[in-house]
C-alpha cells in the first residue's frame, strides 16, 4: 500500500516546490533524486532530496527516519537542515549543499600511503564522535556517504538508516533483510541489532582497510549468506597484501574490524586518538598477523561472535564509560606532593569509567624566541628525561598499554599547550594540579586557573592540604576540589 502522494512524479527545472525553485537535477539513485534548489532567503546553496517511493517500505521508512533525525543534528559534521515537506503533499527534505568532494572519489587512487589513510580516518572518526555525542548512530558509513568540506572537515550524509537513542527506531520493524551496505555492514547489523554505536567504527575500519590496501576486507556480498561470512571469516591482515604495511595501522584497522563490538575501540574519539598518535598505538598480536584464514582463526571469530551479547548501553552511556582523560602533570621538584594527589585523582576518574583512556601530558617550557632553533642535544635529553619521569609517575596506576599514553609538549605557555592538546584530542576530562592560594598567584593567575576558565570539558583541580605543602606564609588552601 503506497499513498497516492508518495508516488514518484515528474519534476522539471524551474518548477517551484513549497517556495523552492528547482535549478538542476544533480543525481537520481535508486532511493531518491537530488535537486539543486534556491530560495531568496537562503544564504547557502540548498539540496532537495526527493524520495523515489515505490513499493519498497524500507525506502519510505528510511525517508521518514531522515526527516525525523536530520533536523535534530547540528555542527560542522552534518549538512544543515533547512526544511521538510510532509507525506500529505510532495515529500522532500532540503538541506545545505556540501561544497566539497566525496570520499568515493579517492577510491580510484587506492592504495593510499599510510599517513594519508590515518589523516582521512581521523577526520571521519572526529565526525563520527560528534554524531555519537548527539546520541545518533549512522549505520550506513561508506565512502559515498562521507564528504569533505574545503577545509578538510568530514561531513556525514544520508541518515536513512540512522538511529537516535531517545526517539522511536522506525527501522526496528522486522524487515527481512539486514539494513546496511554490503561491504561495510557490521556483524551485529547483519544480526539485526541496531543499538551499538561501535557498528559505525566497524564500517570505518572497512573504509580504512580499503583505502590502505585497495581491497575490501569482506568483499562486496549482496546475499544474506554472503553478509554472514563476516561473522566467522577474519579479514586477511593488510600485511598479507603488503608485507611492509605499518604495524600500527594494521593494529588500528583490525581493532576496528573485531567481530565483537566490546573488542573494538570503545569510542570514535579513542580511534581518532590512535590515528593521530601512531607512535602511541599499543601493538598486539593483531599488528603482526601476516597469515590469511586458517580454520582456527575462523573458529575463534565465530566463538567470539557467539559469545558477544547485544549492548544494553545507550550511545551516551557507551561514551561516558570510555572518556579520554588527560592528566596534566608537572614534575618539577616542588610539585612532588601534588604529583601523588594528582595520581590519586586520576585513579578515581579511571575507576569510574572502565573504558577510559589516560593521556599523561607534561609541558616543557620553552623560550618564545627559540621556537625555530634546531633541537640540540641538551633539549633532546630534557625531553627524554621528562618522558621517563612521566612514565614513572603513571606506573602505580598499572594501566595496560592500550589505555595509557605519554606526551611531552614543548611550548612557551603551558596553559595554552594543555588547552590546545585537550581540544585537538577530544579530551573529556582534564585532571590538573594547583598550588593554590598565595596572593601573588591570585594576582598573576595560575596555569590551572586559565585551564579551568577556557577548557571546553570537565576539569578536576587537585590540591594538597596546606600543611603537607609546607609553604611558609601561605594561607590555608582548601582541600582538593572535586
Amino acid at each position: 500500500m503506497v499513498p497516492e502522494a508518495t508516488r514518484p512524479r515528474i519534476l522539471e527545472p524551474g518548477q517551484i516546490v513549497d517556495g523552492f525553485c528547482l535549478v538542476e537535477r544533480l543525481h537520481r539513485g535508486g532511493m531518491a533524486a537530488l535537486w539543486h534548489v534556491t530560495r531568496a532567503d537562503l544564504a547557502v546553496a540548498g539540496i532537495m532530496k526527493i524520495p523515489l517511493l515505490g513499493e519498497d517500505p524500507t525506502a519510505i521508512v528510511g525517508f521518514e527516519v531522515e526527516q525525523m533525525i536530520l533536523p535534530l543534528l547540528h555542527g560542522p559534521h552534518v549538512p544543515r537542515w533547512i526544511a521538510a515537506g510532509g507525506f500529505d503533499a510532495q515529500p522532500y527534505i532540503v538541506m545545505e549543499m556540501i561544497q566539497g568532494q566525496s570520499l568515493r572519489a579517492r577510491l580510484e587512487q587506492t592504495p593510499l600511503p599510510a599517513p594519508e589513510v590515518a589523516a582521512i580516518g581521523a577526520r571521519i572518526a572526529e565526525a563520527l564522535h560528534d554524531l555519537h555525542q548527539q546520541q545518533v548512530i549512522h549505520h550506513d558509513i561508506k565512502p559515498s556517504n562521507i564528504m569533505f568540506r574545503a577545509d578538510g572537515t568530514a561531513v556525514l550524509i544520508d541518515f536513512g538508516l540512522a538511529r537516535h537513542d531517545r526517539l522511536p527506531d522506525l527501522l526496528a520493524e522486522q524487515f527481512r533483510l539486514p539494513m546496511g551496505t554490503g561491504p561495510y555492514i557490521s556483524p551485529e547489523q547483519v544480526l539485526h541489532n541496531r543499538t551499538d554505536a561501535r557498528s559505525d567504527l566497524f564500517a570505518l575500519g572497512v573504509i580504512l582497510y580499503f583505502l590502505a590496501t585497495g581491497a575490501r576486507p569482506f568483499g562486496a556480498p549482496t546475499s544474506v549468506r554472503g553478509l554472514r561470512r563476516r561473522l566467522y571469516e577474519e579479514p586477511a591482515p593488510p600485511r598479507a597484501h603488503r608485507p611492509e604495511f605499518p604495524l600500527w595501522l594494521q593494529e588500528i584497522i583490525l581493532h576496528c574490524l573485531e567481530v565483537d563490538p566490546e573488542q573494538r575501540y570503545a569510542t570514535a574519539a579513542q580511534l581518532a586518538f590512535d590515528l593521530t598518535h601512531p607512535q602511541s598505538v599499543a601493538l598486539t598480536a593483531r599488528a603482526s598477523a601476516a597469515q590469511a584464514q586458517s580454520p582456527w582463526t575462523r573458529l575463534g571469530r565465530l566463538v567470539r561472535r557467539l559469545a558477544a551479547k547485544p549492548t544494553t548501553r545507550s550511545t551516551t552511556q557507551q561514551l561516558n564509560r570510555a572518556p579520554i582523560v588527560m592528566a596534566a602533570v608537572d614534575l618539577t621538584q616542588e610539585w612532588e606532593a601534588l604529583a601523588d594527589a594528582l595520581r590519586t585523582a586520576a585513579r578515581h576518574v579511571l575507576q569510574a569509567a572502565p573504558g577510559a583512556r589516560l593521556a599523561c601530558v607534561s609541558v616543557l617550557r620553552t623560550h618564545r624566541l627559540a621556537l625555530d632553533a634546531p633541537a640540540d642535544v641538551a633539549g633532546t635529553h630534557r625531553h627524554v628525561h621528562r618522558l621517563v619521569q612521566l612514565q614513572h609517575w603513571a606506573r602505580p596506576l598499572a594501566l595496560p598499554g592500550a589505555r595509557v599514553s605519554f606526551h611531552v609538549l614543548e611550548a612557551p605557555d603551558p596553559a595554552t599547550a594543555i588547552l590546545d592538546y585537550a581540544r585537538g584530542n577530544r579530551v573529556d576530562h582534564i585532571v590538573i594540579g594547583s598550588r593554590g592560594a598565595s596572593s601573588l598567584r591570585r594576582y598573576l593567575g595560575s596555569v590551572s586557573t586559565q585551564v579551568v576558565a577556557q577548557a571546553a570539558c570537565t576539569v578536576t583541580v587537585v590540591k594538597v592540604p596546606a600543611e603537607e605543602r609546607a609553604e611558609p606564609g601561605e594561607a590555608l588552601a582548601p582541600q582538593a576540589e572535586r
Binding site: V2, E64, Q67, D88, L167, L170
Partner: protein
Amino acid sequence: MTIALLTDIHSNREALEACLAHAQEHGATQHCFLGDYVGYGADPGFVVDTVMRFARQGSIALRGNHDQAAGGAGDVRLNADAQQCIDWTRTVLNAEQLAFLRQLPLTAEDGVCLFVHANGWDPKNFEYIFGPMQAARNMQVVRQRITFCGHMHEPMLYHMGLTQRVEVFSPVPGTPIPLSAARRWLALPGSVGQPRDGNPAACYATFDELTNLLSFWRVPYDHQSAARKVRAAGLPERYAQQLLYGA
C-alpha cells in the same frame, strides 16, 4: 500551539498543580483532560473544580471510568478498595461537581487527533491498552492519525507504519518526538496523580500541532503531602503507598 495532555489525575491536587505550572512554563496554551479526575486521592473537589474551570473556557474534558462511577452516569466495575474511594468521593463532592462528572463526553476529535480515556475501539467499555495487540486494534479502527489515551498509568508510545506492524517505545522525558505524518500513533501520557512505574513523579505530555512534536514529561511534586492527606481522609493505605513509591 502547544496542548497539554493531562490524564488520571485521581484527586491529587499537588500533582495537578505541579503539572499545570510546568505546562505553563513550557508554553502550553491549551489543555486536554483525558478523564479519571477522581478516585484514590484526597482532593476530588479541588481537582473537579479545576477541570470544570478549564472546560468552561473551552478545554476538552473527557469521562473516565472513575468519573462515571462517581457521577453515576453508568455502571462501572471497580475493586473493593477503589469502590471505597468512590463512595467517599461521592460524600465530599457537591451537586454541581457530580453533575459535571455525569455529563462528560467519552471522546473528542480535533483534526488528525482523537482523544479518549481508555481506547478508540469501544470507549464506553474502558478496556485497557496493555500492549501492541490492543494498540494495533486501536490504530486499525480509529480514523484519526493520532490517538491520545489515558487509563494506562504508564507513559507509552505506539506507532504503526506501512507494514502495519505495531512498535512500542518507552518515551524519554523531555525529548520532543516528531510524529511522522507517514504513520499512525497512539500516545499514552501516563498518570498525573497515580504514577505506577516505580517513579513517584507526575506524568503528562505536551503536543505541538504545528510542528508535530510530542514531549512526555516527569514532574516531581510534593507526593509526601498528597500521601499524608490520603491517610488523613481514611482512604485505603495502599493508595498512600502508591503515591510514595510510584508503584
